[in-house]
Symmetry: C2
Subunit: 190 residues, 2 copies
Amino acid sequence: MSTHDDLRDIALTEFAYAGYAGTSLQRIAEIAGLSKSSVLYHYESKEALLEAAVGPALDRVAAILDAIGDALGTTEGRRAFIEQFVDLLLEQRLAVHMFINQGQSLEDVPVIDRANDLVVRLSTFFATSVSSVEDHLRFGIALGGAAYVLSVKQDDPLAGENPETHAQVRAALVKILTELLAPVSVNTQG
Amino acid sequence: MSTHDDLRDIALTEFAYAGYAGTSLQRIAEIAGLSKSSVLYHYESKEALLEAAVGPALDRVAAILDAIGDALGTTEGRRAFIEQFVDLLLEQRLAVHMFINQGQSLEDVPVIDRANDLVVRLSTFFATSVSSVEDHLRFGIALGGAAYVLSVKQDDPLAGENPETHAQVRAALVKILTELLAPVSVNTQG
DNA sequence: ACAGACTCTGACCGATCGGTCAGCTAACTT
DNA sequence: AAGTTAGCTGACCGATCGGTCAGAGTCTGT
């Protein structure tokens, strides 16, 4: 992989792990085996590095939201969405964890504002007709919980990258999020 | 409230919101209307401020874990635990959110190590006999999701502090976490 | 009136932060 | 062989970081 992409990946890992404010360019440089000046040669600023790190994940979220469109109220629509959402989580777990848990404090960064807008879209996607406290909590727990559980470094089965475990995690996530967000009988007109 | 306690509360709010690394003593001082020197008069270091901020929450977690003891495998025991856990979350939501989401990166801070130990105890509490991937995910989503949803600043019903909404949130949380962690038929001997 | 404790402060410290800049080296072009 | 470019670097910048310290103001007990 190119140095450019290496830096992007290192930055994403560190931002998700130690926070944007808690990660220095010096540290990113050390992990990459470069000098801080080299990092700033590839990316014009720390903020540009953040944008490169989470931007692609935001594109995917936006694409999913656009594609699903209006099939939101029905249980069918929700289940179809959940499958795509789980795949997104598994592919972009660090980026999602980042803007879920640091989206509030980095509010004036353009790429984070974009992320926050998408979270709002995602929220209204699930809370159009039904707006009970319980449903709000369900959505928040599903979103924050999934982002959290996939970002925890653990010696557990999740750590391995073998495809069998991956399929197992995917199936379990779909099941759990379906229970939370699209129960067998959904009140479409709460 | 005393200046000492004010500083503790301000620090907790800022640590949970912007992260420990992302919060400066200068900022805490400004919010409190004091100088940075005054903050360091009340607390000998930034780390001491962190300990004062999350310590009481950790004491409560430990107390709950000690009290529940061995009634862990049964559905009854889990439900009793969940009620206490929800009350803890509602009372100490910022502190819980803090050490859930920053526990990994602040690993060498004593008070955070204590927090991480408690999370491990909590985890094994739910994963003694059953250790399937799905149950690990259920636990992580419940823990991380609840910590997340209660820490989000929102213009939603949660924001208000009126007792009626509080009871509504509590009931919904108990219901959702029970679904996640103690379904009607729990496999005690996975 | 004096002494001592409590609270608070500005000045200052070394270290680190994000970022700039001139210049080095190696590879490719003409 | 000369020129151009990409990749990288150390030296340096002002700002901010956590933390130290001597001292000022206030209040209480004697």
